[in-house]
């Protein structure tokens, strides 16, 4: 799942990028508000982790800009300011969650999972379709109750498809959500991952919509 991290502190940004990558996210890290606005205006992210004290354009202003264009991407605010009015203002401007520095890496990861889940209107933490179940917190997948081993990339792709089950996702949308700017993407990498997923979870789960993209559906084979 691709996350945009906006944090001006070099050491904290570096750590968060590494830590969230360990937790299975694809993390793009930007260091100022202007760059964040530029990135958010052209690409989509599963969530944004936003520091408030940013150079050039502060975090609240980025948030305001994002909500003004009716972009509902979940935003998790990082801040060192514990004054109530800062918190209230952040939430009023459309932040979805708020974490005070210093924080725990696991807490950030968990809150991000919850944000993404809620953004998809899903109250229960486990995604399921047919006999396949995916637990984002444990990063585990089962098929008919039996554990299935997936690579991190396959897991992320499956999560994306399950979160949007019943909807067709274009290749571009999938690639955007899976890869950071630093990842070198092979032109047929996506097909390879889909192929592996089908091999591990059965052919019926993921359907190819020709010329458009892929869709996860529980439709019984006809």
């Amino acid at each position: 799942m691709r996350i945009l991290l906006v944090e001006d502190d070099r050491m904290l940004g570096d750590g968060l990028q590494a830590g969230l990558t360990q937790a299975g996210y694809a993390v793009d890290w930007l260091r100022d508000g202007d760059a964040a606005v530029a990135a958010l205006s052209t690409e989509s992210f599963a969530a944004v982790v936003l520091d408030l004290g940013l150079p050039k354009r502060d975090g609240l202003s980025v948030l305001q800009w994002l909500r003004a264009r009716h972009d509902a991407t979940p935003v998790l605010i990082l801040t060192a300011r514990d004054q109530l009015e800062d918190k209230v203002r952040g939430l009023d401007l459309g932040a979805d969650d708020y974490v005070l520095k210093p924080f725990d890496l696991d807490e950030i990861a968990a809150r991000l999972r919850a944000l993404v889940r809620r953004a998809h209107g899903r109250p229960e933490p486990v995604l399921s379709l047919g006999e396949v179940e995916l637990d984002p917190a444990a990063r585990s997948v089962t098929r008919a109750g039996l554990a299935v081993e997936l690579t991190p990339r396959e897991f992320d792709l499956l999560q994306l498809l399950l979160e949007n089950s019943g909807r067709v996702l274009t290749r571009r949308a999938l690639e955007e959500q899976l890869y950071t700017w630093n990842d070198a993407v092979d032109s047929n990498a996506l097909e390879v991952h889909i192929h592996h997923l089908r091999k591990k979870l059965g052919n019926e789960l993921i359907r190819t919509v020709r010329g458009v993209g892929y869709m996860a559906s529980a439709a019984t084979p006809t």
Binding site: M11, D14, A18, F103
Partner: protein, 458 residues
């Protein structure tokens, strides 16, 4: 108003005004009494003269017998305030012809004209007149008490209404003063309604008399200053929270990353970051402590004695920082004018200098040239640290000495160095200036920070 017992302005005004008015009234009554006395004198003197002349005319006209008879008939009815004697000269001897009824004889040797004598145990005023032929002599007299009585009556006629009016006036003063002091109550109420957490100036729209408006003006000026200081402190706390929590968050995150790292490389990287983070926190804590140390509040007395050789201090601080400069391929040059000494304590000069040079090393970038100069300018000594780094736009220079403000350049600094220097400058009566530094190859200039100290005498 601590210590002294409070007194009522109102009561004081009532007493003072009433006493003043009473005194003025008494004085004017005294003056009126005096003038009335004079007027009574003049009036009664002319009355005496007239009576004497009339009497003389009567006796000279030969109607003495008839007149005396009339006089005796009327004596009981009308107590005449004027008594008289008529004398007649016959064959060279004077004898009393007539005396007003019921009176003793006057002294015989009264001079002509006015005179005052004792008569019947009181003071009397006499007037003696003789006709041209010196045949008759008339002496008239009046008790002095009559005049005093008259003057006193006139004086009292002024004092009695005053005595009645004084209490009324005191009441009026009481009321007027109370009314006039109401704006003071208003201001007092406004001040007591102030919220210490959110100081706002007093409402200026309530009209105040020109005597009390300056009080509100002064209070508002004070409130603004206090609110500003308050806001500064609040901002400092918020900024300090940010500056302390961010590196702590970085430390924690990097440590967690190191713990979970799956490759040796990434673990190594995270651990290096942890150590760098501890160094950074150390620097921040040092700077905060230095800032607290140069806080005017913690600085009870005047700066310590002056350093006899500032140039040595310059050299010493530069020597300390030279390894850092060399690591970054930077050059560090000291140019001190001989015999130039600044009026600042050794310890503070070291702190200021270390921070200025450290800033230059941090922000001027790799390979920069840094020059430390101490030069005399008139009666001042100017300490300058100049570099040929990227410089700072003139509009941003003023903000740099605020706490936790860094330049636009990306560098690891905590943003307190120049605040510390600014504090030291303020405490040593030095002037802190940010200007163009050394010229760069591309035609621009780096940054120069200078401190203009008074030259040390002695």
């Amino acid at each position: 108003m601590s210590g002294a017992a409070p007194y009522s302005l109102r009561r004081r005004l009532v007493w003072l005004l009433t006493a003043a008015v009473a005194a003025i009234w008494l004085m004017s009554a005294w003056v009126v009494y005096q003038r009335a006395h004079h007027a009574a004198d003049a009036l009664l003197d002319s009355q005496l003269t007239q009576v004497a002349e009339t009497l003389l005319a009567i006796v000279a006209g030969g109607e003495v017998e008839h007149f005396v008879k009339e006089l005796h008939e009327h004596a009981g009815r009308n107590p005449v305030p004027i008594v008289f004697e008529i004398w007649h000269t016959n064959d060279g001897a004077m004898r009393r012809l007539v005396t007003s009824p019921g009176h003793n004889a006057f002294e015989a040797s009264l001079p002509d004209g006015f005179s005052e004598r004792s008569y019947q145990d009181a003071r009397w005023r006499f007037y003696a007149l003789q006709d041209d032929a010196a045949e008759y002599r008339v002496v008239v007299a009046q008790a002095h008490a009559a005049r005093v009585q008259l003057a006193r009556e006139i004086g009292l006629s002024l004092l009695i209404p005053a005595a009645l009016a004084l209490p009324l006036m005191a009441l009026a003063v009481w009321w007027v003063v109370g009314r006039s002091l109401r704006p003071v109550d208003t201001v007092a109420r406004q001040v007591s309604a102030l919220d210490a957490q959110a100081l706002a100036p007093l409402d200026g729209s309530i009209p105040l008399p020109s005597e009390i408006a300056p009080l509100r003006g002064a209070l508002n000026a004070l409130i603004r200053r206090v609110a500003e200081a308050f806001e500064n402190e609040r901002r400092f706390t918020a900024d300090a929270a940010h500056e302390l929590r961010t590196p702590l968050a970085a430390l924690k995150v990097q440590a967690q990353v190191a713990m979970r790292a799956q490759t040796a490389d990434s673990q190594q990287h995270a651990l290096t970051q942890v150590i760098a983070g501890v160094d950074r926190m150390t620097h921040l804590v040092e700077q905060l402590l230095t800032l607290a140390r140069v806080d005017p509040a913690s600085q009870g007395s005047a700066p310590a004695p002056l350093d006899p050789a500032n140039a040595n201090t310059l050299a010493a601080v530069c020597a300390e920082l030279l390894p850092q400069a060399q690591r970054q391929s930077q050059s560090l040059v000291v140019k001190a004018a001989p015999g130039c000494r600044v009026a600042v304590s050794e310890a503070w000069l070291r702190i200021a200098l270390r921070n200025l040079i450290d800033n230059a090393l941090r922000y001027a970038g790799e390979g920069a040239h840094i020059e430390v100069r101490l030069a005399r300018s008139g009666s001042a000594c100017i300490l300058t640290v100049a570099d040929d780094g990227p410089g700072v736009a003139p509009v941003l220079r003023a903000q740099l000495s605020a706490r936790f403000v860094r330049g636009e350049v990306e560098a690891e600094g905590c943003g307190l160095g120049l605040s510390i220097v600014a504090r030291i400058a303020a405490l040593s009566n030095a002037q802190l200036d940010l200007g163009d530094g050394l010229p760069r190859a591309d035609g621009g200039h780096g940054l120069a920070v200078s401190l203009r100290f008074n030259e040390a005498t002695a």
